[in-house]
Symmetry: C2
Subunit: 545 residues, 2 copies
């Protein structure tokens, strides 16, 4: 028996586009003499469809695609993820299902039992969990159909669910397991995935075909990396990362095992490629082409400019240099040098005239006050406004350049440097931004070295550096990581050796600035805990602030 | 037996404050000779605590409060909602529990079984559902403890859950039912609540004490309206709306029934008072006092100004009139008249100087282009920026004045009129804004009549009116309501009689403008489907656009 796995880049709600891709992959699988072609979880709708699932019209559109795929399932079986309706009146109205299509019709539907409802996942919002489990009989083989999370409740110290679907299915002695996934990227997730698959092999000993999505849906990035794993626990194949791929396997070869095609995984390579995928698909799927961003001469905007140029092409990226009286010469020079290195269009607009206008307009109201954060914010907002004006006039989408460290502590101006349609590095800590810059420069100096080596500064008042207002980034980032990713409280953080006063101060900054973070663009997610839909915090909360 | 229900305004994560309130209420209940005092769902933490629940430190703080309450439960029993730990390793780590405290200790914990995970609710994100159900034995009575949603799976055409906790508990023949709720306001919810309670009475025939929260937590508003209902289905008492209240009842009187204290519910009164509560608690719980907003002379900002003045007091509200060359005289006059009626500080800042500055700065880049939405947005953004500058300088929080209709179709400028810390009427359709304005004027002309009667206009270019770009609001709002609140698709909408071209156009506008709505302030929720945390839509989706 020959099995094809199709690792594709779907588009949420683009039923026609998704169908077309799957029909093409089915044709290719047939050419390769395959018996079964397997697509990802909710491949018909794209993942995550979110509250579109509450629209009956959306479900009907999905059902029509499944019907069309069923008609194409002649001479080959198609396994595809799509919502299905719960025939029982009690409980949620939908299941998250794996459809088995063959002989031109829907042969069987098996439903997802473990519904991830944490971080970015909201599946119990929409779906009823499966309560029955049946293998599919096909060409003399018994196939266990599972959907993503269904295989993730093994090998954990603290299992999230009370059951394991494969415990139920193993009674029926399946020959192999198909897993239809939509398992989003974070830089350590690919390793976790292999760990979980090996834990399943250890427990159940059946060959497994794990099929993932690839491509980004707003903030969520799918890295692909689909896996075929043999009963001997060896990775028979691992598909490429961040690209579509269709490959076929003889079941007997997989059963035999012995191959090991596990790939090297380098954190910076993964983050770099993930962010490029995130930009590319945000633009591509929204039918957009052109980006714009402000280049300050600092490292954050430099890194975003490089990513944008690599994702969209130099001809589609435009940058603005917007110096003020507080900008240093080297900032303008470094920014210009970078624009030239990247071969992108750059323009210089000095913000002084608008700044003076605001000063004049506010003078009667600001009498007897002194220069403070207000005037700093005015500068940042003039820049945000100029970028938006260019965006409105020419259709270039503004890329936001805030990093995770400053976003965490609220070191940024709402409607100023926090503006933009997409936050590119909002899930990358400042220390990681430095790593990324060095990674980008590994073959040639793309980012001027001075940009990497000079002390970070917002340049909003004379001789300002970040270190005036913030702890050193290596300390800050370590603390933020423990608080944000690891949910450690003040007591644990002090026990880890962080200074108590610093802990109190930083945690308060993080919690108090939630009001800013709710108003920013979607953040491309590369860590296990990004700001945005995966981290849901009260604003009026009084905890640790 | 005497039972006290305490309808209190909690504050998320403010453990000390919540404890203090509950101790005071307990003392009052003891004075009234009560045997039991009942607080709301998750009263210890405030509701919803959201991802604070993932912090062990947060749970420990909650446990300490429960211990302190237990110590105070001498001579009276205390029933209070708080998270508790799941002792079983499989499944979620927490339960959403009702604690029964008496004789200075924790006597019993009963857990919530039905975990709302829809709209604004994310409970399955945090909690394991109850699987066992036990009445509490106390002073010769058997008490069924339920938490909010636990009683909501009856009387519905399409039940969301497969079980009803009271079906399990009725076998143990309880004498009465306590329900600890945190049931957020929407303008039809109070009626739904009474409907559900009556459905429970019909099914189980036991007296019920339904205890709700009151007060707002960012966008979510609790209206109170706690209910005591007798076995004859009559509303024995209905507590006031939007205020704290502690009241005691003789169980025998409730069992006897015959009283009917059900209150009148008027939509505009409810919305008006809900929004005032929303503003008041946003400011109060964040330790803020003063607000600022832009007054355009139009109806949206007028209504928000009135609400702000009623919530915070005239002395804490400041308004800016920011006319441009396109502003009509009547706009400025109407705005000034309103400010005078409200007795709030107003200042006039003409935006021309900043507008000219931007024109000059952008001239070299905008050569050969014509006036379009870019220049309109620049005006809106200058206004947003002036408000933010005043906010930064003087600490007044900017109130956003966008209504639900314009937010739905994207008729607003990001970082301009869409700026602000709190969206006051973002869940109120334009036609409802008119109703609200007339409601506010019912005793005296607060809002100048001209503001209510003139055709709505953004005044961003000569002779502009909303009707140039949008369908008439009565048609638009009807369509938006069916799409947003009722999740009707294009087919159903056309069948309802809406013009097909209009349907396609409006649905596309709604879906395309999701990118704007993700960047706005929290929206005070007054309907069953508000923009924000309760409506989760993909941005790169290709559905209906």
């Amino acid at each position: 028996m020959k099995i094809t796995i199709a690792q594709l880049n779907y588009h949420i709600g683009n039923f026609e586009g998704n169908l077309k891709k799957m029909l093409a992959a089915t044709a290719k699988a047939k050419e390769q003499g395959s018996d079964i072609v397997v697509f990802g979880e909710l491949a018909v709708t794209g993942y995550p469809p979110r509250d579109f699932l509450e629209f009956d019209d959306f479900i009907r559109s999905s059902e029509e695609v499944v019907e069309k795929l069923a008609k194409a399932a002649v001479g080959i079986a198609i396994v595809v993820g799509a919502p299905s309706r719960n025939p029982v009146i009690e409980g949620k109205d939908l299941f998250n299902s794996a459809y088995f299509l063959a002989d031109g019709k829907i042969v069987q539907k098996e439903h997802k039992a473990l519904l991830p409802t944490y971080d970015i996942f909201d599946e119990y919002r929409y779906f009823e969990p499966a309560s029955t489990f049946n293998v599919v009989h096909y060409k003399g083989k018994k196939i266990a159909l599972t959907v993503c999370e269904d295989i993730w409740n093994v090998g954990n110290e603290n299992p999230l669910y009370t059951i394991c679907p494969l415990d139920e299915l193993k009674e029926q002695n399946p020959d192999f397991v198909l897993n239809l996934s939509a398992s989003p990227f974070n830089f350590s997730h690919a390793n976790n995935r292999i760990h979980v698959l090996k834990a399943n092999i250890e427990l159940y000993g059946k060959p497994m075909f794990y099929v993932n999505h690839v491509g980004a849906q707003t903030e969520i990035i799918f890295d692909g990396g689909s896996i075929v794993i043999s009963p001997d626990g060896k990775v028979h194949d691992e598909l490429p990362y961040f690209e579509e791929c269709i490959r076929s396997y003889e079941l007997n070869d997989v059963v035999k095992g012995g191959l090991n095609r596990e790939q090297e995984k380098d954190k910076m390579t993964l983050i770099h490629n993930a962010l490029i995928t995130g930009i590319k698909d945000y633009f591509g799927k929204l039918g957009l082409k052109k980006a714009i961003l402000g280049l300050s001469g600092g490292i954050d905007s430099a890194v975003v400019a490089v990513l944008a140029q690599r994702a969209l092409g130099a001809e589609n990226v435009r940058v603005l240099l917007m110096p003020s009286q507080f900008s240093s010469d080297h900032s303008v020079n470094d920014a210009r040098q970078l624009a030239q290195n990247l071969n992108v269009q750059y323009d210089i607009i000095n913000i002084q005239e608008a700044y003076s206008a605001y000063e004049n307009m506010l003078k009667p109201h600001f009498a007897a006050t002194t220069f403070d954060v207000t005037e700093e914010n005015i500068q940042a907002r003039i820049r945000g406004m100029l970028l938006m004006a260019m965006s409105n006039k020419f259709g270039n989408i503004v890329l936001n350049t805030s990093n995770k460290s400053e976003s965490a502590v609220g070191y940024g101006t709402l409607y100023g440097d926090m503006a933009g349609g997409l936050s590119v590095i909002g899930d990358v800590y400042k220390t990681e931004v430095f790593e990324l810059a060095r990674f980008m420069n590994k073959d040639a100096e793309v980012i001027p070295v001075n940009t990497i080596t000079k002390p970070p500064s917002a340049e909003l008042r004379p001789d300002q550096v970040d270190a005036d207002s913030l702890p050193p980034y290596d300390v800050l980032d370590g603390l933020l990581y423990q608080y944000i990713e690891k949910r450690q409280g003040p007591k644990e953080l002090v026990e880890m050796g962080f200074d108590e006063k610093l802990v109190r101060r930083v945690l308060k900054m993080v919690n108090r600035n939630e009001f800013k973070r709710v108003q920013v663009a979607p953040v491309l997610r590369v860590s296990a805990k990004a700001f945005g839909m995966g981290r849901r915090m009260p604003i009026v909360g009084k905890y640790l602030n």
